[in-house]
Symmetry: C2
Subunit: 167 residues, 2 copies
Amino acid sequence: EDPIIAGVAHDRSEGKITIVGIPDSPGRAAAVFKAIAGVGINVDMIVQNVSAGTEKKTDISFTVPKEDAGRGVEVLKAMQDELGFEQLQYDDQVGKLSLVGSGMRSNPGVSATLFQSLADAGINIEMISTSEIRVSVVTSDDELDEAVRVVHSAFGLDADGEAVVYG
Amino acid sequence: EDPIIAGVAHDRSEGKITIVGIPDSPGRAAAVFKAIAGVGINVDMIVQNVSAGTEKKTDISFTVPKEDAGRGVEVLKAMQDELGFEQLQYDDQVGKLSLVGSGMRSNPGVSATLFQSLADAGINIEMISTSEIRVSVVTSDDELDEAVRVVHSAFGLDADGEAVVYG
Ligand SMILES: C[C@@H](O)[C@H](N)C(=O)O
Ligand SMILES: C[C@@H](O)[C@H](N)C(=O)O
């Protein structure tokens, strides 16, 4: 199936909280997001990779509206002993870019092209999270506008071909 | 907006490749996925979290059809010097579960409920990747059927309420 690229969405309204070195054992993610939901904070992106080292610890990053991030950090700090994580990081200079389309799973060249366009512009990819219809990357906020420009150009989209698509 | 839970999708056809300790600098992700695309391997999920430690290294995990994983591992092993990663891991006992719906971003309790249902069953969440319409977790393959059962139950879905939805 040919991929369809609907457009590029971008967002700089979110801050990113990273829980560093949380034990990779059942119940930790639940406790984190129960606490965050419990203080009424909406969560956009959640990314957690495997615990790859010898320590059976991993990191959980998630994004929230900037105006709520302070409360999220406070709630989690107060749970540090209970959750057992090593460190909490907060980044409010977050840019999120999503390539929106379909058929991207069966067209791995699409992700490769996206990543290469950012690489050619010297833009670092801080996080990656994908679905069948959306490849999302997080860059720094101050690189986001350039990122949007180079991605439009790489896919032959015109500069105002923004897709308002959710996925 | 109230969340709508359409159903639960699950998949055990994929293997997971984790590139451990790759330098977090522009061009690395592009090189990885150009190589994978270049040998015609479809990629489903890509997850990369931030480089949180002092070393400016991170991990990139991605899933591919099991029958292609061997080729993917070979291609990346051959690039170890060029890419500069520490280690390659391959896991072919991967279960992927996705809660599919809408409005989940503005209803953080939905993710919390998903994670809690797995925690209560003692099921470890190895990876998390979310979008507005899908919360995906990776568990081990042998816990996947139980995971699907407890998630259906937690959301009051009947056992054959599987959604064939892509997102
Ligand atoms: C790290 C966290 O996701 C843990 N593995 C859990 O199941 O809750
Ligand atoms: C780790 C990898 O994503 C790197 N940050 C890059 O931009 O390619």
